[in-house]
């Protein structure tokens, strides 16, 4: 063991840092590695994050430049903290450039890598084509999913019939036993999930997967392939209705037979296509051009809409009861120009409009009603058919409280550090409860099996409240930023930091977790 004075001594500091860096990349980090290694690892990570952040900000800046908001950036040296004589400034490019003394072998290496890449691509293409032509599954490689070996047996929920499906790293789909977190099967997708909007949808005993290559159907019990249809990269959630799978891809909007994957109809035009909803036999999709509505059975375009002039289309909200709900705002974002519009599903004609002179945000439909909120501290429920208000209540919250529709009522966070549940039918407060430590708007997550989940105003804790009376069940600093996957038999499933967790809904104890970084996409409870 080195004497303390020799650690990071000037004569050896560079070599020691290099050694620690190399060992870190070779050995997976885990508890128990030395404090010095942790220091070096965290320094690397800290600067990597800084550089990634700078690249992210630069990307946003370019978008704002293209829109004319910002002046084009001058290529003068920026205040990056780098030395003035540093040979390279661009961090992304830097890692690809040879360092002094490395150029010769780097050229050889680059050539070899290029040859290898081309060979791999061609090989992959050939294999992919063969698989598609065969229309059958192929032997999945070993998934890299790490499964905890210590599912804490603090509860014995009856979850044997339930499965958690998730998109994991390395383009695999994994099925977990909901009770234990153990892997039941894993499936290698026929297309990558990178650079696409991966999605999972379950219908009966079939799991449908949207990937960069297209849509794939697999048996939910064992992960075996049923069919694969290369539609191109899936851009949004797959929608399934009446035995048809709808997919919006970069180049097309397609309807596939859920039974065999055969393309029933396909639309091309201004890409990309993003599916928003299907309701009452109408498929709603955002395209690179206007918003469009299609007949779900035939693909015939029913109508398309682009608001021109002083009002522009802002966002699709939802569709139900033969109407589609949109928000629209005045050009320039003037809050006084925000409106809600209900368009007839079959022809796109305006059925009714709702305006309050302030920003209005609808957030869901239930029982023939549209629920929304305004930033002058009102919640409202409108009749979907006529737009007439059923109720309107003033509260302490504003449009930014992220109210959520639940089975128990309208779940809201207020700017007074409280949470409240309002009656769906009358808007009256069923209960109001303070969120400990919350000084401003809290953030509702959702509700499952009689428990409502909400973050405090500082995103420091997740609180579980009884949906019936608002009493606090438990809180935890874990699962910050979580989304609610679902709940069953006293267990709630959360996705946090690319991990999926099973939590005892009664006391917040962790039952099992599929570790951070192993989950890459949507998680589904089936």
């Amino acid at each position: 063991m080195k004497p303390e004075d020799d650690v990071f001594a000037p004569e050896t500091v560079d070599e020691q840092a290099e050694q620690l860096s190399r060992s870190l990349y070779a050995i997976p980090s885990r508890q128990g590695h030395t404090a010095d290694a942790k220091l070096v690892q965290n320094l690397h990570r800290m600067y990597e994050l800084e550089q990634e952040d700078a690249r992210s900000v630069a990307r946003v800046r370019r978008q704002l430049e293209q829109q004319g908001w910002l002046a084009p950036e001058r290529r003068a040296p920026r205040s990056t903290g780098r030395p003035p004589r540093a040979p390279r400034l661009d961090t992304q490019a830097h890692r690809l450039l040879p360092r002094p003394g490395q150029r010769g072998w780097m050229v050889w290496l680059a050539t070899a890598a290029a040859v290898l890449l081309v060979t791999t691509l061609i090989g992959g293409l050939v294999i992919g084509l063969v698989l598609v032509r065969q229309g059958t599954g192929h032997t999945p490689r070993q998934a890299t999913v790490t499964v905890p070996s210590h599912p804490t047996a603090t509860a014995t929920p009856s979850l044997e019939q339930h499965t958690i499906y998730a998109i994991a790293a390395n383009d695999t789909v994994v099925a977990l036993d909901a009770a234990t977190g153990q892997v039941r099967w894993h499936h290698q997708s026929f297309g990558t999930f990178k650079n696409s909007n991966a999605s999972l949808a379950l219908a009966g005993k079939v799991l449908y997967i949207g990937s960069y290559a297209g849509v794939e159907a697999i048996h939910s019990q064992d992960g075996t392939t049923l069919w694969q249809t290369p539609t191109g990269d899936s851009q949004s959630q797959l929608l399934i209705q009446n035995g048809i799978v709808y997919v919006g891809a970069s180049e097309n909007l397609s309807a596939l037979s859920a039974t065999d994957g055969k393309i029933l109809w396909s639309k091309t035009g201004t890409p990309p296509y993003r599916l928003d909803a299907i309701s009452d036999g109408v498929v709603y999709a955002e395209t690179g051009g206007p918003f469009a509505a299609y007949d779900a059975a035939t693909g015939a375009i029913l109508w398309q809409k682009t608001y021109q002039g002083p009002v522009q289309m802002e966002d699709f909200c939802c569709a139900a009861d033969h109407v589609a709900i949109f928000t629209a705002g005045a050009n320039g974002g003037d809050a006084s120009g925000f409106h809600v519009y209900a368009l007839n599903a079959r022809d796109g004609s305006e059925r009714w409009g709702y305006s309050k002179g302030v920003e209005v945000v609808p957030f869901g439909t239930a029982n023939h009603l549209l629920y929304g909120e305004t930033n002058d501290r009102h919640l409202f429920a409108l009749d979907l058919g006529t737009g007439s208000p059923l109720w309107q209540v003033q509260n302490t919250h504003t449009v930014y409280s992220a109210s959520t529709l639940t089975e128990a009522g309208v779940f809201v966070g207020t700017d007074q550090g409280t949470a409240a549940m309002l009656s769906l039918s009358s808007g009256t407060a069923l209960w109001t409860t303070p969120i400990p430590g919350s000084t401003g708007y809290s953030y509702p997550v959702g509700e499952a099996e009689g428990t409502a989940y909400i973050f405090d105003s500082n995103f420091a804790n997740l609180f579980a409240l009884d949906s019936a009376d608002g009493s606090l069940k438990w809180h935890t600093a874990a699962h910050i930023g979580a989304t609610l996957v679902g709940g069953s038999n006293g267990v709630v499933f959360l996705m946090t930091n690319l991990a999926v967790s099973a939590v005892n809904a009664s006391d917040g104890t962790s039952l099992w977790q599929l570790g951070q970084g192993t989950i890459a996409g949507p998680v589904l409870l089936g």
């Binding site: 942790k38 220091l39 790490t146 790293a169 696409s196 951070q516 970084g517």
Partner: protein
């Protein structure tokens, strides 16, 4: 380039200055509260579009500018979680590196790791500018001390000395941590 129609008189120079000054801070805040980097980028765009469209921020005192921006960022974050609940589709583009993180971490350990990173960043900011610069080049750029010396115009021995002192100072942080000393 054609100017976008605006409801306010915020000129391009003011908008550029605002973005230059505050975008790193706002992005850092958004990234801490979103699971995917690309989502934080989208939200950063939305925050500054709101700033530019509504205007007025450039005329506020600096402290009020920061408070106003944080508020808008929080609003956009809230909207993001609402939208995400409505459309549970997840894009993977920004996940590439995190996808291959190789360890199963309990939530408590994740929280500890974030705390550790926070403490390290705070400790680095306490170092001298020269020490920070050498650390950045050594661990951010991956340069060896000889390359750093060449770039900054100093002797390699001097760079080694700076790096050694910086690491020994930071090392104290981790020694305390390993011995179970709770930092104040």
């Amino acid at each position: 380039m054609q100017q976008r129609p605006r409801a306010t008189g915020l000129d391009q120079a003011s908008a550029t200055a605002l973005f230059h000054t505050y975008s790193p801070m706002v992005f850092g805040y958004l990234r801490r509260h979103t699971p995917a980097r690309e989502d934080a980028e989208d939200l950063l765009l939305e925050v500054f579009l709101a700033v530019f469209e509504r205007g007025g921020l450039a005329t506020l005192p600096e402290e009020e500018q920061v408070a106003w921006l944080r508020q808008v960022a929080r609003y956009k974050l809230t909207d993001y979680y609402r939208r995400r609940a409505r459309r549970p589709t997840t894009s993977l583009e920004g996940y590439a590196e995190e996808m291959y993180a190789d360890e199963a971490l309990a939530p408590e350990q994740v929280a500890m790791q974030h705390e550790e990173e926070h403490r390290l960043r705070a400790a680095v900011q306490q170092l001298s500018p020269a020490q920070q610069q050498v650390l950045r080049l050594r661990f951010g750029e991956g340069w060896r001390t000889a390359q750093i010396a060449e770039a900054v115009g100093k002797q390699e021995g001097a760079v080694r000395m700076v790096l050694s002192r910086a690491l020994k100072l930071l090392r104290g942080l981790y020694r305390d941590d390993q011995e179970g000393v709770t930092p104040q």
